[in-house]
Symmetry: C2
């Protein structure tokens, strides 16, 4: 199995604090030694850092922890290999273009009988069930919608239906982003927390690090962090239910199975830390 | 305009030496302040580091210079923006999947009347002439061949024909790789050098750095470096002619306009430095 980490924020925010917690699970406090990756969106562009080496020993992971790259949408993953060898092409997240946007995907879980899912023009490069599921999902989206639909509810519900199908093949916890929204789907383990004013202190479970978000934020900042397991031990994380999806946009919960939430869109504020 | 840097090698080789030279042109000895990027293949996978900030000031460029990432196929670029703003989505190299492989592209030059080139399923995300030309090229390849053709001569000649067409729209120097071969096309400025035993010393033009390749290599190593302008001042670089293409595979020149060269494939040797 693997661990997922995602972020959605209304101002460009670094994820150094949360990433520091996650990276410890890549060989130190967790068994996920088989690679890690993180994708930061900046506008319509993205940058991905990845490594098939354990995150707790990775020079590149060290850079990502120390050098605050600020983003409004982040997808990250540490891997404990099941399907597919420990190789760079099997390291999440995976990114492909659809409708003139880059879509980024990371998966926690394991699927069976997935090999014959049709992927159309999206051909997997590596051998993981995850990349194949991603290619299938993009192909489904392309078959269903000619372009990004104006009705985002329809889009989200369709993605959720595709995820339901994948969940019927095994364990399928997922993060998916087009740089605007962060779509999350829960099969068994996925948690999220939205931080907003008044900000307090948070302390990492996996390392002896405490952050006072009040020092790092402005009153308008809204930042949601999504993770397989809670990363802090003094905050209340929402545990998602099996089959539940959540879509976050600019830090706010925008849609779930239960409906479409009108997002609060506070004015831009200063960059911060998550 | 921009500068290109590519490498093809028969053993995983770091490009720290050449990259150090190139990075100085990103704002110090050259005017290319508008971003830089580098893609390293490892097997079928790749990793890309990129930044819309000047390379000579970039923390990430510093990491790439200091941390030897070893690869047999590298594509790199520093940018002086003409078409498209200074933004991450406009920063080269660009990577897309075709036939189950990742293809990576970087362009030096500027095109006119390119806007209506049909790109099929490959939709540009940014606004550069370069990314659009890449999308068009991939679409042409997909239309022409159902899968990677067994006859690579036909593939190379077809890519060259596409490049000829792009050159008719302006200046088009290009690096293209699928992780196996590095395809180069010259419109006006592109140089290459193949280093093999007996290795000697090389000294960078752009910084006071000398390397003794003999210390870094084994007798079987073959490494080709491709660059817009020669990076060293004491070696003989081949200057490519307008309309000329060269394909390098495992360090050796494999094909050009003038025919198909049977590549020498020496046995694997130790990793080295380029």
């Amino acid at each position: 199995m693997c661990e997922l980490l995602g972020m959605s924020a209304n101002v460009p925010t670094d994820i150094c604090f949360s990433f520091t917690g996650l990276m410890q699970r890549g060989g130190n406090t967790g068994p996920h030694r088989d690679g890690w990756g993180i994708t930061f969106y900046e506008g319509k562009g993205f940058r991905t850092f990845k490594d098939p080496n354990p995150s707790c020993q990775s020079k590149i992971a060290e850079l990502v922890q120390q050098y605050p790259i600020k983003s409004c949408a982040v997808v990250s993953h540490i891997r404990q290999a099941n399907r597919g060898e420990v190789k760079l092409e099997n390291t999440h997240p995976f990114t492909r273009e659809l409708w003139g946007r880059y879509w980024t995907f990371a998966h926690n879980g394991q699927l069976s009988h997935y090999e014959n899912l049709p992927t159309g023009r999206y051909i997997p490069v590596g051998e993981t069930d995850s990349e194949l599921a991603f290619c299938w999902l993009l192909n489904q989206l392309e078959q269903q919608f000619i372009a990004l639909p104006a009705d985002l509810t329809a889009l989200y519900q369709f993605i959720a239906q595709c995820c339901d199908k994948l969940r019927s093949l095994g364990v399928f916890n997922m993060l998916l982003s087009d740089g605007e929204s962060v779509f999350t789907y829960c099969s068994n383990n996925l948690h999220w927390i939205t931080r907003r004013a008044p900000f307090g202190e948070a302390s990492l479970i996996d390392e002896d690090v405490v952050i006072d978000f009040q020092q790092e934020t402005t009153p308008n900042d809204v930042v949601t962090v999504i993770a397989t397991q809670p990363l802090t031990n003094n905050e209340q994380w929402h545990k998602m239910r099996p089959g539940e999806y959540c879509v976050f946009h600019l830090g706010e919960l925008k849609a779930t199975n239960h409906g479409f939430c009108a997002p609060q869109l506070p004015p831009n504020a200063q960059p911060k830390s998550a």
